[in-house]
Symmetry: C2
């Protein structure tokens, strides 16, 4: 009896469009729902049955696309890394007239959900507490991001020592904000940036920081 080949992660023809006119799912469908569940329920909530139900598909169909739940989780981790690493590094490298605008650039990542999925980031962070491999990967990501912010401060004239301290304040504060899942309207959030910039640039009142923060809060983007 000719049995099928061992299940693979992706179909043999991944570039092909989904087969027309019939209810079928793709590995991406499984992955997307899995990501949703990871964010909303935690890694323990990423259950094969739950995903299948939401897709309207039998549970056993899953094992055609993924070898096991463990392989799905690995794919999920790769997916996260591909999404949430680059945007922060890119925005730190953006040219800016002064440090206040540079900080605004950094903030922009965390304000725009298309640029950086904070919920996903924290779901992975939570997951990392229970899995050493995940922990290592997110540690590497944090190190990269901190290095990028530090370099940003250094480009604007801060010493290595002070650049690192301010980078940590900035990045940790932003992570803390998301860790606490502060619930406030976007307007309140951007309005607070002025205060933050004052806190960061320190010399109060700093006309440059005030101008940058007010403009940013009104939707103007740097440069």
């Amino acid at each position: 009896m000719a049995r099928r080949a061992a299940p693979v992660l992706h179909r043999d023809n991944p570039d092909k469009e989904p087969l027309s006119g019939h209810v079928k799912v793709t590995p991406e469908d499984w992955l997307n729902v899995a990501r949703d569940l990871l964010v909303s329920e935690g890694v323990a909530g990423v259950k094969v049955l739950a995903i299948g139900e939401r897709l309207g598909v039998s549970r056993s169909s899953f094992y055609w696309y993924f070898k096991s739940r463990k392989h799905l989780l690995e794919a999920l981790l790769d997916d996260w890394e591909a999404r949430n690493t680059a945007p922060i590094l890119d925005h730190c490298d953006l040219p800016a007239a002064n440090i206040s605008w540079a900080v605004c650039n950094f903030f922009r990542c965390f304000v725009d959900p298309d640029l950086f999925d904070a919920s996903l980031d924290f779901a992975v962070r939570e997951w990392s507490r229970r899995d050493g491999k995940v922990r290592n990967r997110i540690d590497a990501a944090d190190a990269q991001r901190l290095a990028a912010v530090t370099a940003m401060y250094e480009r604007h004239g801060y010493s290595a020592y002070e650049a690192e301290a301010r980078a940590r304040i900035l990045y940790f504060m932003q992570c803390g904000y998301h860790a606490l899942e502060v619930r406030e309207p976007m307007q309140a959030r951007t309005a607070r940036l002025e205060g933050y910039l004052l806190g960061f640039t320190g010399v109060h009142p700093d006309p440059e920081a005030v101008a940058a923060a007010r403009a940013f809060a009104q939707g103007k983007m740097p440069r």
Copy 2:
């Protein structure tokens, strides 16, 4: 057949010493191990069987002390609230010569695990993402803590607006630090405080901030 009364949360004589010379557990034992598991494994890891095994006791014994797993979780939440709320508020209210020392006082909570159990705090925070009731309680705790830090800045001469901004920077940064579970020796941690204080007080170099941070890093306590 005379059956026992319905299981209660605590024994009828809670003030009495544990029965001598015999292996018995107390509700506190169950609670302590449950707290450990909450921190290390997350709320999903708080399993009756796992706790019982670590106590060297049968699983069914649990149901003598607690009505159900749900009741254990409620007790766990009360326990957290009793531990981690007061210390921060107290340390924010401590008298300090200047704002730098006041910030040092605040940092002291987060440096000393006896004063504030950050791991427990974040375990509860993670738990709150999946449970609305937990979420409400931790939101209230965050609001109280932020208000205390804000009041601290105001007592040292900052305007209400700037006090709130700096309080948020300070508290969020600290939470972010713990959310990322930065792994570094205590020495490196306190040594960085100087940089942080510079960042917070802003006017650089600020002799007061430098003096406070250096003294604090060397183990000297405020006042």
